[in-house]
């Protein structure tokens, strides 16, 4: 290295220009910065959630803010959730059929498809569709309101933006995601059944008997229970992204994209931990163990 290092550019980390050690130091600093940013955002979303829950109980939500959001979140999401549910059921049938046929266990297909649907795919699929359809739209809408000072206008008139904008969306997601999940479950079960029985020619009676032996109310309820957490996470993350939108069209676009990405990641992370929790509860309720599929 030359003895006279070039003068550091103002605002840039001087360590960055000092050879390999400096490069590693800069790399560590960058990672540290990213970690700090991640933890700060996480803490911020949690505080945002607590504030939302506080406002949910502080004052009764207004019907005129609640109903349009319920319509948007529930009614308009129903067709797309139903359609994707239907196809996922059929895809499951296609994928597992050949494996099961080798073992001559075709009629067990019902158990496999329906169990994985109600426990995992139904809730995760409904939540993913909600995050994509509603979450990013909420982030874009609130982001635009932030950029055009409408959120400031609410505050300036002595109205609380969380009460007006976040609580109805949060309640909409929380209350309606179980119904969407049940819809996805139902359509998935139907899709699997029709494809299995009518296309793959599996015996209908045994298909259902095997399903009945394996899929219980606990499985359906655990899926619906998980969906509540997904709904809450989607609403809070998306509204938070919208509230902290950067100026301009690019800012709104970024808010919408990051709302979906963060929601999706948290759906999967929550799914893992809730799955572990539910398994533990199941083991304590039914100590004889996992049922044979």
């Amino acid at each position: 290295m030359a003895a006279t290092a070039p003068a550091a550019v103002p605002g840039e980390n001087p360590a960055a220009s000092r050879g390999p050690v400096g490069a590693v130091a800069a790399w560590v600093a960058d990672i540290g910065e990213a970690v700090i940013a991640l933890i700060t955002t996480f803490g911020d979303v949690v505080l945002f959630g607590l504030e939302t829950i506080r406002w949910m109980f502080a004052r009764l939500p207004r019907k005129d803010t609640l109903l349009p959001n319920f319509y948007q979140i529930g009614v308009l999401s129903l067709p797309v959730v139903a359609l994707t549910g239907l196809f996922i059921g059929m895809v499951l049938a296609v994928q597992s059929y050949s494996q099961f046929r080798v073992m001559r266990l075709e009629t067990r297909l019902g158990a496999v498809i329906n169990l994985s649907l109600v426990r995992e795919l139904g809730p995760v699929l409904a939540a993913t569709m909600l995050a994509g359809r509603v979450g990013s739209a909420m982030a874009a809408e609130l982001g635009t309101m932030r950029v055009t000072e409408q959120i400031d206008a609410l505050s300036s008139m002595g109205a609380n933006p969380i009460y007006y904008l976040v609580v109805p969306r949060f309640l909409g997601c929380l209350i309606l995601i179980p119904t969407l999940t049940i819809m996805a479950d139902f359509m998935g079960v139907m899709g699997g059944y029709f494809f299995g029985v009518f296309v793959l020619d599996i015996d209908s009676h045994h298909y259902w008997v095997n399903s009945q032996k394996v899929v219980g109310l606990f499985d359906v309820a655990s899926g619906v229970f998980k969906s509540l957490f997904f709904g809450a996470a989607i609403a809070l993350i998306s509204c938070h992204r919208g509230f902290h939108c950067q100026p301009g069209a690019a800012g709104v676009g970024r808010a919408a994209t990051s709302a979906f990405v963060y929601s999706f990641v948290s759906i999967l992370v929550l799914d893992l931990f809730l799955g572990i929790l539910i398994d533990n509860v199941y083991m304590s309720l039914y100590p004889e163990g996992i049922r044979f599929v």
Binding site: P68, T144, M145, T148, E149, Q150, D152, A153, S155, S156, M157, G158, A159, N160
Partner: protein, 283 residues
């Protein structure tokens, strides 16, 4: 609490003491001290980026000071809880730069919003008051059912003004009320500012870089200067006086602004062009 004599009859409506506002690493306002007595109309002028809008938003507590205090009628805004601040904000009116009307609500619903939030009036009463307010800002009743997206810029500003006036505020804040409007509509807005001030006897702060407004509307003019162009010991308020004093000011920074002359900025720009050109040639 300091031991100031508290026998003063009425505190000034707005009292800004040693205000600093910084975002990330950038300081926008530095050591601003400003008292606005009741009934005064103050115009804050200054070029874009000098912190005018930030000052306006700190007056209503939308931006919290990094240091210093903003007192409204004796209440320190930064010491108030969210709920108390919300209650205090009923005494404010704020006209935002883009009017900030709620897109999802009609004009009538926008104007009715503060009534629905803060009063127990019946629908019929609210409807009557909304019609009155819309007439007061010189708009026709047929705008009531329209959505903000269907209105022109000037109409939107007037609806925003009507909404800000619903609860008869004591302090009215205007953020660049004439920016983006044609000269005639600008004058209409200036007239409206004067009229509502006379009718409601309120205190107003108008942030603008429109010299027409700065001459026509105020009792007092304050000029802010961007911190980046100031030395560390120079005050950020470079002018404070009546519109007539403004005309007589000898400060070149003030006269340049009034006359709209770029002055030394042109020189700066030329050197920047020159260096950009030499870089291009070097390549």
């Amino acid at each position: 609490m300091d031991n100031m004599p508290v026998t003063e009859a009425v505190p000034p409506l707005v009292d800004v003491r040693g205000l600093y506002v910084s975002f990330a690493k950038q300081t926008v306002l530095r050591d601003i001290t400003l008292t606005i007595p009741r009934g005064q109309t103050l115009v804050v002028i200054g070029e874009s980026g000098c912190g005018k809008t930030v000052l306006l938003k700190t007056l209503i507590g939308l931006i919290r000071p990094t240091l210093g205090q903003v007192l409204f009628d004796g209440h320190d805004l930064s010491k108030l809880a969210e709920r108390e601040l919300a209650r205090l904000r009923v005494r404010y009116g704020f006209l935002f730069q883009g009017a900030a009307l709620f897109d999802s609500l009609t004009v009538a619903e926008n104007v009715a919003f503060p009534f629905r939030e803060h009063s127990h009036k019946t629908n019929a009463e609210i409807d009557r008051l909304v019609r009155e307010l819309i007439a007061e800002v010189g708009l026709n009743e047929n705008v009531l059912r329209k959505y903000p997206a269907e209105l022109s810029g000037g109409m939107r500003k007037r609806v925003g003004l009507a909404r800000a006036l619903t609860l008869k505020p004591e302090l009215m804040l205007y953020d660049e009320p004439t920016t983006g409007l044609d000269p005639i509509m600008s004058d209409v807005i200036n007239e409206l500012i004067l009229r509502v001030r006379q009718q409601l006897k309120m205190t107003s702060v108008v942030v603008t870089h429109d010299m027409h407004t700065a001459h026509k509307v105020p009792d007092r003019v304050v000029m802010l200067y961007p911190l980046a162009r100031l030395g560390t010991s120079e005050p950020q308020i470079i002018f404070d006086g009546t519109p007539r004093d403004l005309e007589r000011s000898r400060d070149p920074r003030v006269t340049q602004f009034i006359k709209g002359e770029a002055g030394e900025r042109l020189m700066e720009m030329r050197t920047q062009f020159a260096s950009a050109e030499s870089m291009m040639k070097g390549r």
